[in-house]
């Protein structure tokens, strides 16, 4: 169980994490979702005691990380697969990690086997492909057989096979009763992996719920509308306080409105509609809307 309480981190003038509180329960994969720069990595570094919170705290089973005895036995983490000396062999990298927490050399063989790196264990880590580096990082996280696991964007840059492997791996870890926190900036990925979601934007908590709840709640009121006068309609909808985004095909996605409302507004201005359909909107759209990262349809841009 991970518990963040009023966690805040400021770097100079940047507020990377802003009064963030959430809990991560054991036995499930919890997605930690936010767009680039939302503060996911910063939060994870604070969980591991690497960065000092400006205020607030984060506890692991009731204790700050820095008070854990031989912490690799409690918390395993993969924040960055590149945190390995490139000239050191995979085996040597795991050897020193294991030794530092009093773990036997036998355990190094086990985790190498678990992630499928036994054959290349003697090769220098600098020559590994991204997928292999990621596996080495996961091996390091698993060394102490920890009950809490943190992964920062573990599937970034992996091929579909690698993504599937990691996804199933994390679900397997959660099924064993472990606490698993995985960050990502892709809701579609998290929808497949995580059963709970902690969503943040610009350092602040946006929501904490199950993935299903989040998806349903955030896609309720989206309407897709196509019109030859999309510019005019878009501007009017923005004036009424709705959020409007223009898709690649020229269609508008209106959030916060029902199809009735959009239809009425269009009719009142005599705007012709070619399509008007309520959406179980795409996950990414819902996510972008919630995190405030969407490219909003500004009235000023419609006058062209």
């Amino acid at each position: 169980m991970i518990e963040a309480i009023g966690l805040t981190k400021r770097y100079g003038n940047t507020v990377a994490v802003d009064n963030l509180s959430f809990t991560v329960a054991p036995g499930r994969v919890t997605g930690f979702l936010g767009p680039n720069g939302a503060g996911k990595s910063t939060t994870m570094r604070m969980i591991l005691g690497l960065d000092r919170p400006t205020s607030g705290k984060v506890l692991i089973d009731g204790k700050p990380y820095t008070q854990l005895d031989r912490p690799l036995r409690t918390v395993g983490a993969l924040l960055d697969a590149k945190w390995v000396h490139p000239n050191r062999s995979a085996r040597a990298h795991l050897d020193w990690l294991a030794k530092s927490n009093g773990l036997p050399g036998k355990r190094v063989d086990e985790v190498l086997d678990l992630v499928g790196l036994t054959k290349v264990a003697k090769r220098r880590a600098g020559g590994f492909s991204l997928g292999m580096s990621q596996r080495l990082g996961i091996a390091g996280a698993l060394l102490g057989d920890p009950k809490v696991l943190l992964f920062d964007e573990p599937v970034n840059g992996l091929d579909p096979e690698g993504i599937l492997w990691i996804r199933q791996f994390m679900q397997g870890l959660a099924a064993e009763g472990r606490t698993v926190l995985v960050s990502s900036h892709l809701l579609s990925e998290m929808a497949l992996t995580a059963s709970d979601l902690v969503v943040i934007g610009r350092g602040k908590l946006i929501s904490q719920s199950t993935t299903t709840e989040f998806v349903e709640r955030s896609t309720e009121n989206a309407v897709r509308v196509r019109s030859p006068h999309a510019d005019k309609l878009g501007a009017m909808l923005v004036d009424k306080g709705f959020t409007v985004r223009e898709g690649e095909d020229g269609a508008l996605t209106v959030t916060g409105a029902t199809s009735d409302q959009v239809g009425d507004i269009a009719a009142s201005a005599g705007v012709v509609l070619h399509e008007l359909s309520p959406q179980r909107g795409s996950l990414e759209e819902a996510f972008m809307q919630l995190t405030g990262d969407s490219v909003e349809y500004h009235a000023a841009e419609t006058g062209k």
Binding site: R45, L48, L50, L68, L72, L97, G140
Partner: protein, 253 residues
């Protein structure tokens, strides 16, 4: 103890320490061999076999700085602090391992330089290790290497970048400490208290052999006795190391 083993694994499973050790030995002993081969005017004194230890010292300090700056460069310092969150104990363990290794290299440099001179020179009358001062010229190299490595480790931890740390160390030791004498009036007095000048005094100072003509070899300024000089240099090195521990503990990894 386990942390010493951890730092030992880390140090010896990368290549740069090996290169640095070979280079330190090669430079110091190699140049001593040249001095010995050229010492045709009178007998070569013991102290002359230690003149070149400063080359080795520079390389050993680069090795020590690299031991920590590469950890910052490649992020393994984060893995280290994640594994041992109190931060002080792994850094102290690294200090112990690096200082011991440097002491061993210093021992090899000291005895290697002296031994090779013994083999090369024709007149060995001044080269026997007879007095306490003779032993200091040979064994002192080891102590200065150990202290110097802690100083470099401290600077490396503070600066966190290889290029920065190495240039600070080398520019200070090789340029600043020599050029400071250009300052009118007070230059010489300042120099006497700068760390590497003082360390030099410990290894080379108060030689009691008369084999060299007056004024030959590097000058050895300094106010303190040789052993006082070592204490002074070690205190400075420890001060840097301790400050670096405090800073590393406080700041974000």
């Amino acid at each position: 103890m386990t942390l010493l083993a951890v730092e030992r694994i880390k140090l010896f499973t990368t290549r740069s320490p090996w290169w640095c050790m070979v280079l330190a030995l090669g430079l110091s002993i190699g140049f001593t061999a040249i001095i010995a081969a050229n010492s045709t005017e009178g007998a070569m004194p013991v102290v002359a076999s230690a003149f070149t230890h400063q080359f080795g010292l520079m390389v050993i300090m680069v090795m020590a700085a690299l031991a920590i700056t590469t950890e910052y460069r490649f992020g393994t310092i984060k893995a280290t602090f994640q594994a041992v969150p109190d931060r002080i104990s792994p850094l102290v363990a690294k200090g112990v391992v690096v200082a011991l290794l440097s002491a061993v290299v210093g021992l090899l440099v000291g005895f290697g330089s002296w031994g090779l001179s013994w083999l090369i020179v024709s007149d060995r009358s001044q080269l026997a290790l007879e007095s306490a001062n003779d032993w200091r010229h040979v064994l002192g190299v080891s102590l200065v290497f150990a202290a110097g490595s802690l100083l470099a480790l401290g600077v490396g931890t503070l600066v966190r970048q290889t290029a920065g740390a190495v240039s600070i160390i080398l520019v200070f030791a090789l340029l600043v400490e020599n050029l400071v004498t250009l300052i009118p009036k007070i230059g010489d007095d300042i120099q006497k208290w700068l760390p590497f000048t003082v360390a030099n005094k410990f290894v080379l100072g108060e030689a009691d052999s008369s084999g060299l003509p007056e004024g030959a070899g590097p000058p050895v300024p300094g106010e303190l006795s040789p052993w006082g000089s070592l204490a002074y240099f070690t205190a400075i090195a420890l001060a840097f190391f301790v400050v670096s521990l405090v800073v590393a503990k406080r700041r974000d990894a």
